[in-house]
């Protein structure tokens, strides 16, 4: 009986021990992915901010400018692209909507961001765009990969339509979470005017015809929870200028928008809560379960060996699979 039990324990010991590395290095990279149908919104505010008054073509101080960012997973498009890409793909239709203090539109820039659901690598497919312009992203945008490393990454800047390094600047603690802090500075760069302008009758083409150009510079900061790769806080010191042309003769320039943009507090709270729950799930697959299975496997193996050793000890009883045959009955001669 003991020998049977020790064999069963050995089978379970191997089962749990094998499960540990399989879970960490085979299952985790395949199971951890961004859901194709994810929907997320985010509100950022610059309080106060500087905004252009198109009536006077002068910059004015306003109490608040709000940026509403929405990311919406397009499942039908991801299914379509997956057929040719041969891997799990996420398609995010995004909108950055900037509202002035009166709630009216200052600018709105739509984007389509296509990336690998597991690794966050960009996937290049028809429809990838920023404000209607075809782009070819390199690096990441909005989110870091699972198990983010403390190193520089390449981050896509939607305004310039280019990618540049975003530098790892150290590990910090943010609302009780250990996070990696990243920083990217985009120097003054000439960028395109948004397709949708806030004043009726003014189009990007009409502004360009007058020779006026739009310039942009930013310093963006992210606090990224490294297990999930999700930013739990983000800020941007954002500056935009219109320069020269008939609108600003004599090589003049005017601030179109400037402000220190920060995530609204209630959104920081909800993001931290969401990331904390997701972090536990990722840690289950990468740490808690593999280590737990290893311990269980080792314990079962030890128990099996112990039972086996006891069954072999002299006087420990005869194992059931080695039951001796009964002595033959004496037969009369």
């Amino acid at each position: 009986m003991r020998r049977k039990a020790s064999l069963v324990l050995l089978a379970f010991a191997v089962f749990f021990t094998a499960l540990a590395p399989l879970l960490r290095w085979y299952a985790f990279p395949r199971l951890a992915k961004i859901p194709a149908g994810q929907y997320q919104d985010m509100v950022l505010e610059a309080k106060p901010a500087t905004l252009i008054d198109y009536g006077t073509m002068k910059a004015k101080r306003v109490p608040k400018v709000t940026i509403v960012q929405t990311l919406k997973g397009n499942v039908a498009e991801s299914d379509r692209i997956e057929q040719t890409a041969g891997r799990d793909v996420v398609v995010w239709d995004a909108l950055s909507y900037v509202a002035g203090p009166d709630g009216k539109m200052v600018s709105e820039i739509p984007e389509r961001y296509i990336f690998d659901a597991h690794s966050q690598e960009p996937v290049h497919a028809t429809g990838e765009m920023v404000d209607g312009d075809r782009v070819r992203r390199e690096g990441i945008e909005y989110k870091w990969p699972f198990l983010t490393e403390p190193r520089d990454y390449t981050y896509f800047d939607a305004q310039t339509r280019t990618s540049a390094p975003i530098h790892y600047k150290g590990t910090r603690t943010f609302r009780g979470l250990e996070v990696y802090y990243f920083e990217q500075t985009i120097p003054w760069t000439k960028v395109r005017l948004p397709k949708k302008m806030p004043v009726k009758g003014i189009t990007p083409e009409s502004v360009e015809k007058m020779g006026t150009t739009r310039w942009y510079s930013t310093k963006r900061m992210f606090w990224v929870e490294p297990v999930t790769g999700a930013p739990v806080n983000g800020q941007e010191i954002h500056k935009e200028e219109l320069r020269g042309g008939d609108l600003l003769p004599g090589g003049g320039k005017v601030t179109a928008f400037a402000g220190h943009v920060k995530m609204r507090d209630d959104y920081v709270d909800s993001t931290v809560a969401l990331v904390t729950s997701q972090r536990t799930l990722v840690l289950l697959l990468t740490g808690y379960l593999p280590w737990g299975f290893l311990v269980v496997g080792a314990a079962l193996l030890a128990l099996g060996l112990h039972l086996e050793a006891r069954s072999r000890r002299p006087g420990a009883g005869v194992p059931d699979d080695e039951t001796p045959r009964p002595d033959p009955r004496p037969t009369p001669a």
Binding site: V14, F15, G37, Q38, M105, D266
Partner: protein, 44 residues
Amino acid sequence: MRALTAAAVGLAAALALVLTVTAAGPPSGRTSPKPLLTTVPEHP
């Protein structure tokens, strides 16, 4: 020999479980009916 068989059974069971779970994978879900926002939401 029986110990080897028991170990093989354990290993096969672990492989079968992991392969089944990863083959099924998480569901992809469906596109949210919520719109891309052009107003400032009151709360998350």
